[in-house]
């Protein structure tokens, strides 16, 4: 069986090892290499050109000043980094991104977990409600944003209809710099909570029952069992959701583009919006590339931490 220890399935003929094997074997192997290259080449080519090359290209562009019209970029060294990192507008952008991400991550995890517990109760119709809650996750962000734009409409929107009976006046959500960011957070949560709930639910249903039952027999309260048993056992799932939500939210674009366009003023200008703005509205390739590299480094740190923690989880469990 030693030949089978390879991570591949060898051709049975090869395992049979006939006496004139040598030549035939070599020819067969050469053909196998050729086929491998043929099958993998298109995918690897696209990945190299459109996933890896952009990182190198960005790194180069970030050292230049270029309006994308001039024949070639002007080399400016680290000037873009110096200017960006000391720019108060960039600090504001980073802060907005952190607030936006922080609220969405916290909201998704807390409400998602609560919903998962709800969907785990023996209630009629829970499957249907779970499906309904998850549906927004697969819908176009641009379309979802458009719906909510009308819901938030201060004149004829659903939000006004809901609070009007209580004698309250709705804010002009998207045109008010205090309300625009909270509005975006609500929309994003509405779109993504169902996903968190679904993942948590799968995790809950996979938990070993004996520990929880033993604790219940020993008289532990529901809250204690949640705090001391379920929450720690769900930690890997929480961690997975934390990372994927951070990565997704950092790159959130369609909802912002449709609802606020980074405004009013700079109230909802996140890092992802400012990359688009510098690159495709201000045509400042150098600065867009600099911001892209900064985003890449931040998310690389996040994914590296994830890889490390996942590895430890696999090894020590």
């Amino acid at each position: 069986m030693t030949a089978l220890d390879l991570p591949v399935r060898t051709h049975p003929d090869e395992r049979r090892q006939t006496e004139d094997g040598g030549n035939q074997l070599r020819r067969r192997r050469r053909r196998e290499y050729g086929l491998f290259a043929l099958l993998v080449a298109p995918n690897l080519l696209v990945i190299a050109v459109f996933a890896y090359w952009p990182i190198i290209y960005n790194a180069f562009l970030s050292l230049t000043d270029w309006n994308m019209i001039a024949a070639r970029p002007t080399f400016v060294g680290l000037a873009n980094y110096g200017r960006t990192l000391t720019d108060p507008a960039f600090h504001k952008t980073l802060w907005t991104t952190v607030v936006f991400t922080g609220f969405i991550v916290a909201g998704s995890l807390v409400i998602g977990l609560a919903l998962a517990f709800l969907f785990n109760l023996p209630l009629k119709g829970r499957g249907a409600v779970r499906t309904i809650a998850f549906a927004p996750h697969i819908l176009s962000g641009a379309a979802v944003a458009t719906i909510w734009l009308f819901i938030f409409d201060p004149g004829y929107g659903l939000m006004r209809a809901l609070i009007d009976p209580f004698g309250a006046e709705p804010p002009d959500w998207m045109n008010n710099s205090d309300w625009a960011l909270p509005g975006l957070i609500i929309v994003y949560l509405w779109k993504n909570i169902g996903f968190a709930a679904l993942i948590y639910l799968a995790g809950l249903q996979g938990l070993p029952k004996d520990l929880d039952e033993a604790a219940a027999i020993d008289g532990a309260s529901t809250w204690t069992r949640f705090r001391a048993i379920k929450l720690p056992l769900l930690a890997p799932i929480t961690f997975f959701l934390l990372i994927t939500t951070v990565i997704g939210t950092f790159q959130a674009f369609d909802v912002i583009a449709v609802m606020t366009g980074g405004g009013p003023g700079d109230a909802t200008t996140t890092l992802s919006w400012s990359i688009y703005n510098e690159g495709f509205q201000a045509f400042n390739a150098g600065r867009a590339a600099t911001l892209s590299i900064i985003m890449f480094v931040i998310l690389l740190v996040v994914t590296t931490v994830q890889a490390r923690v996942m590895e430890r989880r696999v090894h020590y469990r």
């Binding site: 995918n43 209630l123 176009s140 004149g155 004829y156 509405w190 583009a257 990359i275 892209s292």
Partner: protein
């Protein structure tokens, strides 16, 4: 009993929170303008198709629809073919430095799409692909996650079956087509559906790589419709929004369990 009653109230409340906005969309799309701009709002629409013809007149929705369909179908097909072929090669064939190559494929998942926008735009411009189907489709057909899912699945298939095929003289491509793929149907459907949903919803790339109305896709066309109509005609805009959402809602209802299965699998096994 009281606790159970409260639980049901919460469950209904949750359903309302997620259905409410969709009902608001649906009802507005079928209201006539007078009904939309009345206060208090009408909860039941007159059921008029007027908004759809207005949306059609305001923007070339048939063209958007065609573009979205072409990109979704071609993009999904090419991406899934890439995933299947790469996964087969990594699961069944030998090659020097295979491990390194596999890490290179998986490593693409570490590159956030948003970071590649500007360089990819410049690359596509160099290739002369701005405002073409090639420019819209090709940069997205590299597959890392789907390749990973397919390969993991192939490795769970019993060796006896592929061996039997080989003994019968079937070549690799024949084995893939006749034996491995039919045995991987649920996973294949999952990968196809998830990829198609992503392609259809893609927003930022079509936004930057196209520059004429005739090449726009539905989500981008919606942004243009909204900007043109201002906020003066919600009925038209909601009709357009419904056109963007309806196909995905339909696919979701049909293929729900494949989508859910694929997503939870990615999370729990990752």
């Amino acid at each position: 009993m009281k606790v159970r009653a409260i639980q049901y109230v919460v469950l209904i409340g949750v359903a309302a929170v997620f259905l409410g906005p969709l009902y608001w969309l649906l009802s507005t799309a079928f209201k006539d303008p007078a009904q939309i701009y009345q206060w208090p709002p009408a909860w039941w629409p007159d059921l008029t198709w007027e908004n759809f013809s207005l949306a059609w007149k305001a923007a070339p929705f048939d063209r958007f629809f065609l573009n979205s369909t072409v990109i979704t179908v071609a993009g999904t097909l090419l991406k899934v073919i890439n995933a299947v072929l790469t996964a087969y090669a990594f699961a069944y064939l030998r090659f020097p430095f295979k491990k390194v190559l596999f890490f290179l494929v998986l490593g693409a998942m570490m590159v956030p799409g948003h970071v590649t926008l500007l360089p990819n735009y410049l690359t596509v411009a160099t290739l002369g692909w701005i405002n073409t189907y090639a420019g819209l489709i090709i940069p997205g057909i590299g597959s890392a996650f789907a390749t990973f899912l397919m390969r993991q699945h192939f490795l769970t298939l019993p060796t006896e079956v592929t061996d039997a095929a080989a003994v019968d003289g079937a070549g690799h491509l024949r084995t893939l087509w006749r034996v491995v793929l039919p045995m991987s149907r649920p996973m294949l459907i999952t990968v196809v559906v998830i990829t198609a949903v992503e392609e259809w919803n893609n927003f930022v790339w079509p936004l930057i790589v196209t520059n004429t109305a005739s090449m726009r896709t539905l989500p981008v066309g919606l942004l243009i419709l909204k900007d043109e109509e201002g906020l003066a005609n919600w009925g038209t805009i909601m009709a357009g929004t419904l056109l963007v959402l309806a196909p995905m809602l339909l696919i979701f209802l049909i293929a729900q369990r494949y989508i859910v299965g694929g997503i939870t699998q990615g999370a729990l096994k990752g």
